[in-house]
Each structure stands twice: as C-alpha cells, then as structure tokens.
C-alpha cells in the first residue's frame, strides 16, 4: 500500500480555480445493492460545475461504485442521480447524453489495443460527435500535446509505458470535450516514477476549470487541487470537508484511523 499512498510532489502551484453555481452532479438519497449486498447507502451529494472532489476510503467501501453510477456503468436502485441537468433512468437517450458529457479514466487504462493512440482518441469524436476524421484527428493531436505525448500518436497502446497509457486515456476522454471528468484510482496501477506525470496532467486539468470527481489516495494531489475531500466507508459518505480541515481536523474516528493508516506507514 505504501507506494500508492506516498505523497507525490505536485510541481505547478494551483492558480485560482473558480467554482460555478451551476449544479453538475446531484445525487439524492441514492441506494444501490449488488444482490443482497447493500453497497451504497443513502448517498447525498451535490457537485457544482468547476468543483474538484477527491473521494477516499478503505477498499470495498463503494468509491468505485459511487462514481460509476454517475455515468451509469452501474445502475442504482433507489434515489435520483441528475447529471448535467439530465436524470438517469433506463431511458437510453438520457444515458447517451450523460455519457457524451462525462469522461471517465480507469485504473486499468482500458485503451483499445487494436487501435493506435491517435485512433483511440479520434474514435469517439468521429462516431459519437459525428466529426470528420480530419477534424477529430486534429483535436486528438491537440490533447495528445496537452498530455505531452504527441510523438506516440501512431504507436499502439501495447507499446507504451503505463504512465503514457494513462495519459492517452485522459486525452481520449478529453477529446469528447466532457463537462465532467471521473477518475477511478488513475495512478494506483502505476509504478511510482510514473505517478507524477499523470498527476501533473490532472492538476493542469483542474486548473483549466474542469469539474472532477477523483477516487484516489494521492493526498498531495488532494491538498493541491481539491475543493472538497470525501471519506467513504461501508457504502456511506462518512465525512466531507475542504482539504485543510479534512486532513488537519478530521471529525470522525474512522476518518482519523484511515488517515493515520495511509499517512504514517
């Protein structure tokens, strides 16, 4: 655990990042079960546009499940989830709308191995946003430059390092110009020396004003960019606060225990 949890230096200082008053994501009394198992219990959460939320908590506490409900990779059984003004129901139109506006980055990258880096990035703009191939590839190159790997555009994902693959995955999501980005432990499958190259990209993204929900145990990143840090355990949001107070003045015992475990080993 110690590798993934150690604090990585985040180089660029965070500039002023503004939070809008539009609601990007709203969850009202959301419950979810896997069969008999109650994974999410009465989740209430409002994320304004431009907000950057870091979610942490012990393994199995439901962090992934929570953010995967936001783009309906998982289906919740009770309560309402409203994303970009659209309520998530079984209506495919709504789901497609939400998925167009919400990008997601996975722990395992999930790049498409049969396509080049450029094709990975241009695919969704072409087939979902109906862009021309030229236009899509131009945008793809822009984002590949932004994550600092334009020179890898014609390689296949299998030929890149983990950190490079994760940056491609971020670029791929950004090519859809999403309003909200979800990150599910984007650095925990990476070797320590590759973590900061991915975090740098995420900090840059935060500074550009992106609404972000990140499941991560990178506490340096949380301090740097988060407006709010949330602690989950047993399917509930136990505590949430701004990073300053969250780390220096945790309220619940479970949070204290968790923080002491990840910060002092």
């Amino acid at each position: 655990m110690s590798d993934a949890v150690q604090e990585h230096e985040v180089r660029e200082p965070a500039t002023q990042m503004t939070v809008g008053d539009e609601v990007a994501v709203e969850m009202n009394a959301v419950h979810k079960w896997y069969g008999q198992f109650h994974v999410l219990k009465d989740i209430n959460l409002t994320v304004n546009s431009g907000e950057r939320i870091v979610i942490c908590g012990p393994s199995g506490s439901g962090k992934s499940t929570l953010i995967r409900c936001i783009n309906r990779l998982e289906v919740h059984q009770k309560g309402d989830i409203i994303v970009d003004g659209v309520k998530l129901t079984n209506d495919l139109k709504n789901i497609e709308h939400v998925r167009r506006e919400v990008g997601m980055v996975f722990q395992a990258f999930n790049l498409f191995p049969h396509l080049t880096v450029l094709e990975n990035c241009a695919l969704a703009p072409i087939w979902v946003r109906n862009m021309s191939r030229d236009e899509a590839e131009e945008i793809a190159m822009q984002y590949l430059e932004r994550v600092k790997i334009p020179e890898q555009a014609l390689k296949y994902p299998g030929q890149l390092s983990g950190g490079q693959q994760q940056r491609v995955a971020i670029a791929r999501s950004l090519c859809m110009s999403p309003k909200i980005m979800l990150f599910d432990e984007p650095t925990s499958a990476l070797d320590p020396e590759m973590i900061s190259e991915v975090l740098d990209v995420m900090v840059g993204l935060a500074e550009s004003g992106m609404t972000m929900l990140c499941v991560t145990h990178e506490m340096g990143f949380a301090r740097r960019v988060a407006n709010r840090v949330m602690f989950m355990d047993g399917g509930e949001i136990i505590e949430q606060n701004d990073p300053e107070n969250f780390f220096n003045n945790p309220q619940s015992d479970r949070t204290k225990l968790f923080l002491s475990q990840i910060l002092h080993n």
């Binding site: 990008g103 999930n110 695919l123 999501s173």
Partner: protein, 373 residues
C-alpha cells in the same frame, strides 16, 4: 583487432560480433538440426526418408506419367510397365466435367465470368490496402446476386437448372456461399447467446445446440426430402438452394461458438471504456469488441471454414455431383475404369490447395493484426 579475450577497462567494453559458429548457416544448422544426439538422429532419419520416398513419388506423378491417351489400355501401353505411373490423360479427358459438371457447354462462359468476378470480389475483402477498397467491398456484397443471376439465368439469360451444376464449380458455390453467409450469421448468434435478453438468448442457444447436435448429412437429407412436407404442395424450392441454406446454418452454429470464445476473452474494461465514451451497443460492437474478438477467433474461424469446404463433398449422398461424384461416375466408364488413384489424387490436390491457401491466409492475418499486446 577486436578479440573477446582481450582486456578492456571496466566500462569501456565495446560491442563485439558473436562467434562465427553461432550465426549464419552454420549457426542455424547447429541450433536447429544437430543441437543434441536425438536431434541429430532425427535429422538423419528425415533425410533418409525424403531420399527414399520423394524420387519414386515424383516419377509416378510427373516424370513417368502419361498425359495424353484415349483409354486406360492405351495409357498403360505407353508406360514401361503397366500401372507403373499416373495416367493423367484420364483426368484431362474429363477435365471440363470436373470443372463444370453438366452445365450446358454453350453457357459455360457464364461460369468462367462468375469465377473472374468472384476473384475480383474476394480481393478487396482480403487485401486491406487496396486502392478503392470501399467500392470493392460494396461490389463484394452485390457479387452473390450477380453470380446467382449469371449461373441460374433468367432476365435475358438462358435459364440453367441447378441439377446440371456439378464438379468444382458446385464445390465453390457451396463453399463460398457457406463461408460468406455463415460468418455474419455466426456473429449474430454469438451475440444472441451472450445477450441479456432471455428470449433472444434462449433462441440462440436452442438453434446452436440443435444444429451442432445433428450430423450435416442428416441436415442434408432433411433438406432433400423432409422439407417438402413442410412446404405447401406444388411449391418449387430448389434443391441447391436448400443445400446452401443448410450448409450455411450448420457452419454458422460452429462459427458462433468460436466467436463466443473470442468474446469471452475481451476484458470487461473494453466494454466500459466504450460505454463511457458514449458509443452505443452497435457502435461499440462494430468498432471495439468485434475487431478484437474476431482477431482472437481467426484460427478457429478458418478451421471451421476449412471443415465446411471439405464437408461440401457430402452433397454426393443426396445425389449432387461434386468433384467426388463426378470422379465416381467417371470411374464407371469401362474405357477408363481402374484409374481410381489418379481421380482421388486429383480431387485431393484440389481440396488441399484451397484449404492450405486458407490456412496460410489466416496465419498472415494473425501476424498482420498483431499490435504488441
């Protein structure tokens, strides 16, 4: 001069070429043919085997063979010892029968033209860097209908009954139809079997398991006899068409299982990434899932195709004259009887060339599609 035994200062050692005995022809021989005593014995045995068998076989097949004669007797009279070599004159005299069956001679140009058009249709499917491939693919989709019209006639062409079809032409018609229609049908069945919709899933499973559980010969008998029970009396339903449908369904059931295997190897993350980018089911399947699943399934798919191609010979049993049927009919001719070896060898070579070609193409595809993951 650089020399491996020379001393260099630490950190200054240059790259040296490997010893001569490890590279080039010598190195290859040493590593591959004589690497151990057992390997050496095997190599020597193999050389002896080739030495003992290849020359007589070549003599029989080529150097001593008779290429033109009018009967078996004449053939054997031309040899040093009767039956000592192949009498290809027989195959030559029946060659057009082997190719066209009983297709009317005056219309055989239509078969030839169809074959040329087939090659033109297959090219854009197999060669992906062909200029104008898009139009080629559209043409490839139209090809079965063009060929059907050319072969069967009607609409301005002299009609030809399908019971006059035969020989290699019949094999290719059944093989190509089976292959090109069973792949898309197999994909749909595989998706159906993995579907979360219970009715669709059940239907796919029932279909696949029924077809897999029945021998192709039984299906062909059903096609040739029983189907008439189910159809209103007086309907004409061409026997060849029934056979084509049965062969396609049979092959599709196997292809479906091969592709299902490929689909199971695709990690869930690929579906999730496709979903999270907003691709709908059809786009995710066509752009992300199928290209990967089909790639994994290539050996199994081509294996099924090769099996299908060889199974076309079973139509013999319901009275159609595929090359084997033509061969048997030809052997009944008193002038030529006794030349079974030549006939079956000729047919075997035809099938071998086709099947070996498919096998090589599949290897080439696997290599080409490998992207280092």
């Amino acid at each position: 001069m650089t020399d491996a035994s020379q001393n260099y200062e630490t950190g200054q050692h240059p790259d040296l070429p490997p010893p001569l005995s490890e590279v080039g022809i010598l190195g290859w021989l040493k590593h591959n043919l004589f690497s151990s005593p057992l390997n050496t014995v095997m190599t020597i045995l193999a050389i002896w085997f080739l030495w003992a068998f290849i020359p007589p076989v070549l003599d029989w097949m080529l150097f001593d063979a008779v290429w033109s004669a009018d009967s078996r007797k004449e053939c054997w009279a031309l040899m040093e010892e009767p039956e000592g070599a192949a009498c290809w004159a027989f195959i030559k005299s029946r060659f057009s029968l082997f190719i066209y069956g009983f297709y009317p001679e005056a219309s055989r140009w239509r078969v030839d033209l169809s074959f040329v058009l087939l090659v033109l249709a297959v090219l854009p499917v197999l060669v992906d860097k062909m200029p104008g491939r898009k139009f080629g693919l559209i043409y490839a989709i139209a090809f079965p209908f063009i060929a059907g019209w050319l072969l069967v006639g009607g609409l301005g062409l002299e009609p030809v009954e399908t019971d006059q079809f035969g020989g290699i032409m019949l094999t290719i018609i059944i093989g190509v139809t089976g292959i090109s229609f069973s792949l898309p049908l197999g994909i749909l069945l595989a998706l159906g079997r993995r579907s979360s919709m219970p009715v669709l899933k059940m239907l796919s499973i029932m279909f696949i398991e029924f077809i897999r559980g029945v021998p192709l010969i039984a299906l062909l008998f059903i096609a040739s006899s029983m189907l008439n029970f189910f159809l209103p009396p007086g309907t004409v339903f061409d026997l060849l068409l029934r056979v084509l449908i049965m062969v396609t369904l049979f092959s599709a059931a196997y292809i479906a299982e091969v592709i299902r295997g490929g689909l199971q190897a695709i990690p869930r993350g690929q579906y999730e990434a496709a979903d999270s980018l907003g691709l709908n089911f059809a786009k995710a399947q066509i752009l992300i899932i199928m290209p990967q699943a089909l790639k994994i399934s290539i050996p199994g798919i081509v294996n099924s195709f090769i099996g299908l191609f060889k199974d076309t010979t079973l139509v013999l049993i319901i009275g159609m004259l595929d090359p084997l049927g033509i061969g048997r009919a030809s052997l009944a001719d008193a002038d030529w009887s006794g030349l079974a070896r030549e006939v079956y060898l000729f047919i075997a070579m035809f099938f071998f060339i086709c099947c070996f070609g498919m096998a090589r193409y599949s290897l080439y595809l696997e290599k080409k599609l490998h992207t280092g993951h």
